[in-house]
Assembly symmetry: C2
Homo-oligomer: 272 residues x 2
DNA sequence: CAAATAGTGTCTCTAAGACAATATCAC
DNA sequence: GTGATATTGTCTTAGAGACACTATTTG
């Protein structure tokens, strides 16, 4: 019998065929649209970051930011690195979405993807944009059910519109799985990844889990509520929302100014 | 500019270094202990399956069942295959636990693991046991917090006791992360995987998500309640439990027999 | 009948939802 | 004052938890 050291010295890790491992990130942010009424607060929209592919395969198509896992890093570190490279911002949160390993999902060969969702504060994104290449863009996102039970995912940036159709496969353990019926010109199986990530984000937002990360350090309760509503597509009465998050925030003592209406208290997330 | 076909024909997927990819499965079941009182119902315990390693590394130590991902299969299929190979049973559920990719977690080299939790009905396991090798055993499982905020994971099978110590790292998005302080003789980072899987199972059990899979097709409400209590370690009054699951089950019309006390209605899970 | 589990009715309390009312700024 | 948002109070209702009580079997 050989020792463990002898075994390891002689171990050939290349004896088995290995897949390539990538990480894809669905980076969410919320952007406000300027309003013509100086008194009215601006509208908000949920966006995700897409990259226009500069090489084969899917040359010229839009895809999620992502890349190959490198030796010495964890998949989480890889995801953070990708986001930083594309946006210059380190995301506040990184939420696992799932592993996508279906054979044939990448024409280059055996490639499995670890998908993460991350949330960037709209503020941070606005400040660090500019050095962006024109092939990285934030797309407005909509995700709706039709009468036929199918889901329609619509991504829009200026004149570019991508529209994918998906069917819900099954949804055990809180996680939904989707099947792509029409990829709507998105690269790879990224329509599926985006749908899965959004579903995960929505269920977290219901529990107030991810919503703080969309906002800067201090925020008003109305801003916070709007974040939740934009994500979940569910409106709730302000009085009730305030009661529910009361324990998760603390007052800063400061107020908003010059908004054309009554100023609002600024809050900060309370450490639990 | 070359075409996509030309690109793919010339693509060398081996140009980058790749990790090996494995799947590890935490297979749960519930076993009942025979009681000396003929009237009293048997006690139940939560168990997981461990395999005694027959080769380096960690030769002779206990480890989770698992194996390398093979070309042409998804990680979920790989997990199911591993469970089937070790138990002869196809699990009712397969729940993603996380990806473990920390450098150095496997002495053989760069190996990342996709962990799944699965639930087997105690019935099915009992029927198909016997052809088991002696190196696959069901261990009783306990997982408790101490006063110091550390967690103690205890696994026991006959005279073998494995006892690991873990610290909770952070717990965003409902998923807890643990750091191993003492692996308690478990192979690799499997103490961490087990702790993470159990935490995930517990939170699912609270929502009645996984508890049905522990039982055969038909069951009594008391059995169902006991399953939940064994997993979550939280007891609840029978009257209240019945109210809460009322919508998730249907009566079969049949009753239990010969239990030394009043017979119980048999129920079946209601398809939603 | 005794021991043990099966099953029901109902009270209380909390939290969610609905609604109404009041407060405060910029212009 | 007007238009907008901010903030609070309270009524109603749904559901969780606690308790007390009744029902049914086997030995």
């Amino acid at each position: 019998m050989i020792s463990e050291k002898e075994f390891l010295d002689g171990y050939d890790i290349g004896a088995f065929e290995r897949p390539s491992v990538t990480t894809d990130v669905v980076a969410f942010t919320i952007r406000s649209e300027t309003n013509d009424n100086y008194r009215q607060d601006s509208d908000s929209k949920l966006c995700i970051l897409l990259i226009r592919r500069g090489e084969h395969p899917y040359l010229g198509r839009w895809a999620l930011p992502g890349g190959f896992l490198q030796p010495g890093e964890t998949v989480e570190q890889c995801a953070l690195r990708e986001i930083r490279e594309e946006t210059g911002v380190t995301p506040a949160s990184l939420m696992p979405v799932g592993v996508f390993s279906e054979p044939g999902r990448d024409p280059r060969g055996w490639i499995i993807s670890n998908a993460y969702a991350s949330v960037l504060s709209g503020d941070a994104v606005r400040q660090s944009s500019g050095d962006d290449a024109a092939d990285a863009q934030w797309f407005d996102l909509r995700f709706e059910t039709g009468d036929d039970g199918l889901y329609r995912l619509t991504l829009r940036y200026e004149s570019v519109t991508l529209s994918a159709i998906l069917a819900e496969e099954d949804s055990r353990f809180g996680q939904s799985a989707f099947r792509v019926i029409d990829s709507g010109d998105l690269a790879f199986d990224h329509a599926k990844i985006i749908a899965t990530a959004l579903t995960a984000l929505r269920s977290d937002a219901k529990k107030f889990d991810a919503i703080f990360d969309f906002l800067p350090e201090t925020f008003t309760l109305t801003e916070l509520q709007k974040v939740q509503e934009v994500i979940t597509d569910i409106t709730i009465l302000p009085a009730n929302f305030r009661r529910k998050i009361a324990d998760l925030v603390t007052e800063t003592g400061a107020y908003t100014q010059g908004a054309g209406h009554r100023p609002a208290r600024l809050y900060r997330r309370r450490k639990p």
